[in-house]
């Protein structure tokens, strides 16, 4: 039995009948919260006890998570896929083809296989945790008072869209839920609608992803035309059917998949449709954490992962290599570009946004390489090849898992920092007011002070120990420090990229990109942590930051553990990224065998080339990059500040390196490249210009043309008719002589006419 194809057996689980509830519950909660929020707005019970809908959302998301976990548990045993028997018919129609009417129908069902299981866990788990976080974050900020119900309503609708996309059994419904997520993303980025920058960012996000979606929908239509259906099980069994595949043009299929991939590029913010993601940080931080880091941006990856059966098909061997290369290349370019831009960002959330982009790009590269391997190796029959392909595919998916967990946590931690810096600022200036009684002072300051800028932070490690720890673990996971979360998967992606590069020299570029990217990641993640938590407070405000509330702490605590124990998930064979199904909780080999296998695979695989590669990657990702950051940023904490014991070595190391090797980097910081990076390589600028000059200019001209030329012709006809009628009217002279003449002419005319006819 093979992972990835997953269509060999269809098991029916009794739980499957509850699966639609995972989607329906949050979807129904959307109008409920919105309605209650409108009716009970400002009601103390609604506000304090119900948290303006937060509790309803919490209950709903918890139920979704429980059902999801039960389903996942059922599935953990094997590779088989489950298809729901729920038959919801969406629409029926028919087409005329070669003399026959063929009836077609689109329905909805639930489809669960190993890719679904992993994303289902990620989505439902993070939705719940971020919901908890939101209660701590949104409801304690007076700026959100009396409109949080809107946040929670849109939040649950988003969760519904995400879970729906993961569970749907066809590409069509994937697209439908995909768009719903896009809508929620739009609404939530524009949550602070009064800010012009938020309005602009929301529009930009929707439009940019929409451009990708247009390609996606055309790809889907092409796909439907080839297979006569968009259901996964129909398509995936068709690609394994020799007689059927004989009639399919592989180049058309490659085009269809390529167009769908453009949709994924838009949704997952990859070059060149990446411009929306950094601006999307205008939304509230829980939104950034959930939508723009942990779940929605994974939709594109999910779509590409879903394409695996095409690449793995025996009958398409070597046909889809170009597409695999493009996927890997886009990933490689974005990985390096986003990491470079992240070097110079000052805004805490922007660094994380570019980091998200860069890490998603890693996964794309990983998927592209896995696709290449699946498409070139004879993996369905050859055991060695099978092993290679599954490990490569698994590494990419595992990175998705690790990244979602770590990035969700990082965003929540950054939210916690921003929240507290903001509060400290408020607190501080409130006191100022108290002393010198300047009413306007506070407001004047409010606008200048940027609670998200890392230049206003520093030395927070001692003040927010849990947040600092969570951020540390998250950063380490993203950087790929050995033994922590992302390490396991990142090594796999780098190794596989090089494995492919050895086979096909074109892949040398993406392979180089991901290797260099590892060092860059090490640098910018360390820079972020050090600027925020190490060194001395850079502003008065940073010195007065306090601890966060419990709602915020819970998810940080939980996710720290999940990130640290990623290896356990791998060892359990949780989502089958291990090469065979024997590892797992419910299988013969136990957890420790699984871990031992992962360890030996990561650190000591037999091949010399990969052995060296692994240690090179560790060296540059975990030593070179962070080392550079240690020498440039941070430094010892302020006098008398104490940190938790596990952070002490890092602070000490930082202080030591900073004191000894700090150098002046002003020359680099002022260089043209640095300026270009700060301006995001001018992509946004040129896109905006193109929109403004070309699209808007052309449409304005068109509107004028429509008014002057198209309608102008009609107006000409109007005035023409009027002038003719004027001439006719002028004949109505009232003089009897004229009339007699006209009668005479008329009679003669009729006479000649009749004569002529006769």
């Amino acid at each position: 039995m093979v992972a990835g194809t997953g269509t060999d057996t269809i098991i029916d689980s009794e739980l499957m009948q509850f699966a639609p509830l995972i989607i329906l519950l949050p979807m129904l909660a959307f109008p409920v919260i919105l309605f209650l929020g409108r009716v009970f707005n400002r009601n103390p019970f609604w506000k304090d006890t119900m948290k303006e809908g937060g509790i309803i959302a919490l209950v709903v998301m918890a139920s979704s998570l429980i059902i999801s976990l039960l389903l996942i548990k059922d599935h953990l045993g094997g590779f088989a896929s489950m298809k729901d028997s729920v038959d919801f018919l969406w629409l029926n129609s028919s087409v005329y083809e070669s003399g026959n009417l063929t009836s077609i129908s689109f329905g909805f069902g639930i489809y669960i296989d190993h890719i679904t299981v992993m994303l289902l866990f990620v989505a439902s788990f993070l939705c719940l945790l971020i919901n908890i976080f939101s209660i701590g974050y949104m409801n304690t900020d007076p700026i959100n008072d009396n409109r949080n119900h809107r946040f929670y309503a849109e939040f649950v609708l988003f969760c519904s869209g995400m879970l729906g996309m993961v569970l749907a059994d066809s590409f069509l419904w994937l697209f439908i839920f995909w768009e719903i997520m896009g809508l929620c993303s739009y609404l939530l980025i524009g949550f602070y609608y009064e800010k012009p920058s938020a309005a602009y960012a929301a529009k930009k996000a929707f439009l940019t992803t929409r451009i990708g979606d247009v390609f996606l929908i055309i790809g889907l239509v092409m796909m439907w035309d080839m297979f006569g259906s968009l259901d996964y099980d129909v398509i995936f069994s068709a690609v394994e059917d020799e007689t059927f595949m004989a009639g399919v043009s592989s180049s058309t299929l490659q085009w269809a998949l390529g167009l769908m991939f453009i949709g994924a590029v838009g949704k997952s913010a990859q070059f060149p449709l990446h411009v929306w993601l950094p601006d999307a940080m205008e939304g509230p931080t829980p939104v950034s954490a959930l939508i723009h880091a942990a779940t929605m941006v994974n939709a594109g990856l999910y779509l590409v992962a879903r394409m695996f059966p095409f690449f793995g098909s025996e009958y398409l061997q070597h046909d889809l290599v170009d597409l695999a290369f493009i996927i890997a290349l886009i990933g490689g370019i974005t990985a390096v570009m986003a990491a470079a831009i992240a070097f110079v960002q000052h805004d805490l959330k922007k660094v994380l946004a570019y980091s998200t982009m860069s890490q998603l790009a890693y996964i794309f590269t990983g998927l592209g390489c896995a696709m290449f391997l699946a498409n070139t190796l004879d993996w369905q029959t050859d055991a060695d090849a099978h092993y290679i392909v599954i490990v490569a595919f698994g590494a990419a998916l595992f990175h998705l898992f690790n990244h979602a967990m770590a990035k969700g946590m990082l965003f929540m931690a950054s939210g916690s920092v921003i929240h507290e810096v903001h509060h400290a600022h408020h607190h501080l200036h409130h006191h100022d007011d108290h002393h010198d009684d300047h009413g306007d002072h506070d407001e004047g300051h409010e606008e200048e002070f940027d609670a998200q800028s890392m230049d206003n932070m520093g030395g927070l490690a001692s003040k927010m120990p849990l947040t600092a720890t969570a951020m540390l673990v998250g950063s380490a996971s993203i950087m790929g420090l050995p033994l922590i979360g992302g390490f396991w998967s990142k090594e796999g992606i780098i190794a596989n990229a090089w494995r492919v590069a050895l086979e096909d020299p074109r892949f040398f570029l993406p392979a180089m990109c991901v290797l260099v990217g590892a060092a860059m990641t090490g640098f910018y993640m360390s820079r972020m942590w050090l600027k925020t938590f190490a060194g001395k407070p850079k502003t008065e405000v940073a010195a007065h930051v306090g601890q966060t509330n419990t709602w915020i702490k819970i998810p940080l605590f939980v996710l720290t553990f999940v990130t640290l124990s990623a290896i356990l998930f791998a060892g359990m064979g949780f989502t089958h990224w291990a090469p065979d199904s024997e590892y797992g909780l419910l299988s013969e080999k136990n957890l420790f065998d699984g871990i031992a296998y992962e360890m030996s695979h990561a650190f000591a695989n037999g091949d010399t080339f990969f052995f060296i590669l692994t240690y090179v990657a560790i060296a540059i990702g975990a030593v070179l990059g962070p080392g550079l950051a240690l020498s440039l940023y941070g430094g010892s904490l302020a006098e008398g500040e104490k940190v938790k014991p596990w952070m002490k070595p890092i602070i000490r190391l930082n202080a030591w390196v900073y004191d000894r090797y700090n150098f002046d980097n002003q020359a680099i910081a002022n260089s043209g490249l640095s300026r270009a990076l700060e301006n995001r390589l001018y992509f946004d600028h040129y896109y905006d210009m193109a929109m403004l000059k070309i699209v808007a200019g052309f449409s304005d001209k068109s509107a004028e043309t429509d008014k002057n030329v198209v309608d102008g012709v009609i107006k000409k006809i109007e005035t023409g008719t009027q002038s003719i009628s004027k001439v006719v009217r002028s004949m109505t002279t009232g003089s009897a002589r004229d009339y007699i003449l006209m009668v005479a002419v008329g009679t003669l005319g009729i006479f000649f006419l009749l004569w002529g006819v006769a």
Partner: protein, 525 residues
Amino acid sequence: MILLAFVSNGNARMRARLVGPVRMACLVFSLLMLVLTTGMFFRYFGDVTWMDIGFNEYEFEHKYTWVESLGINWAVGLDALSFPMVWLTTFLLPVTIIATWNEKHGATYFPLLLMMGGALIGVFVSLDLFMFYVFWELTLIPMFFLILKWGGKDRKYASQKFFIYTFTASVVMLLGLITLYFLQDPYSLASSGTMTGRSFSIPELIDNARANNIGDNWYLGAQMQKILFVMLMIGFLVKLPAVPFHTWLPDAHVQAPTGGSMLLAGVMLKMGAYGMFRLPISLFPHALYHFQLALMIIGMVSLVWGAIVCLGQTNLKKMVAYSSVSHMGVILIGIATMQPMGWAAALFMMFAHGIISPMLFAVCGAFKHHYHSMEIGAMRGMAKHSPWLATSMMFAWMASLGLPLLAGFVAEIMMLIALWKMISVDGWSIWWMVGPALVLALTAAYYLWSMQRTIFEGGEDTQPPASMKGHAIPDISNSEKFAMLILALFTIIFGVLPWIALDMMDDWTIQAFEGLIIPLLKGGA
């Protein structure tokens, strides 16, 4: 009988004077009509499933001789093509009345709306060419007065342009209809009149045409069929409207009162599409194939040009009007694909747009009513000042740009699939896909752009627009809220469960293909 009652109700109410009772009476009558049509759908009145009726066969048929010597009959009947439109009309009437509850001069306004509804229903139920034409022109009259009396600044120009423009086109159509009448074989039809030996009966004409349109045999001859097809199509294309005959629409919409716009966009435009299916397509399928490319081009141009011009508009209502032009392009493309799915897409687009566009215009009307301006950017930060209006606007805009699970998306995806099928089966160029793709993005662009400048921005220190003259900014009234909610609800219902309406449309297209197109392609089978 039932349908007769609708029409006479509409006319009888005209005479009443007092606003309150008239309004109530109009609402009650329109609701009664809605109950009737909904009952028809649920088989409460008459056991009709609207499925498997058969092409060119009708339910609820009633026939009275009108002018015997000429073969004119009062003949009504419904099939799966006309029933959704009739339901839509009866659905929109009460909604329109509620949405514009406080319109001035109510004593004449509401009866005019009802008369309009009666005339529209008349068009959809007519099974007689003469009657069809009479009702067709009758719809112009209430609309003309609605624009003239309740319209904006340039209402005189707009109402005359609207009337003359569409009337001129209808005259071309009328000439076509009369030619068709006289070209019949005398005494060939069952209900032929005694004097001319010819008939105006649509079902009999279609049957006659079908019997002759087999294989390479053209009913009435190839040349004449093409000419008649074009003449009829001109009338319908102007009504639809398709570029380049669309310029009456923005003027009419911008000047028309909200209720007029709602009915105009909701149902009146669909008369054009309905007429196409009922007459030229059913009678002259050969000519349809002949002009397939032309139709496709007109459809594409309408679609793309409408969207581009939308992006250049600064007037909210004008933008929405042009978006109608763009959406009507979808109908033409659907027809031109010559796929059952494309036709079903066209039918569903008629229906979906009939629900969404009234909401668009209701939003525009409320905007104008409350902010005394139609300019995009006259009011910013609406989300703060009028949350209900902002929500309705967001919903309507999203529905119109084709958000999945809302009604508009169903038609769009079906059209795309049918278009692609045409490309892959009939070997059309792949470039035909570029237009719809472009428009999918452009539509999002103009809607989002207008939302950014109305709903968003503004903030705490927003000044009311100058047009408000310092008055506080109100939210929409309860009746408007109610109307919006109803429209939104049905947009969702038909988006999530499109088969409610789509099944019968799909059935009609299958019947039409089996009865009309396949005999054509397969020869004399």
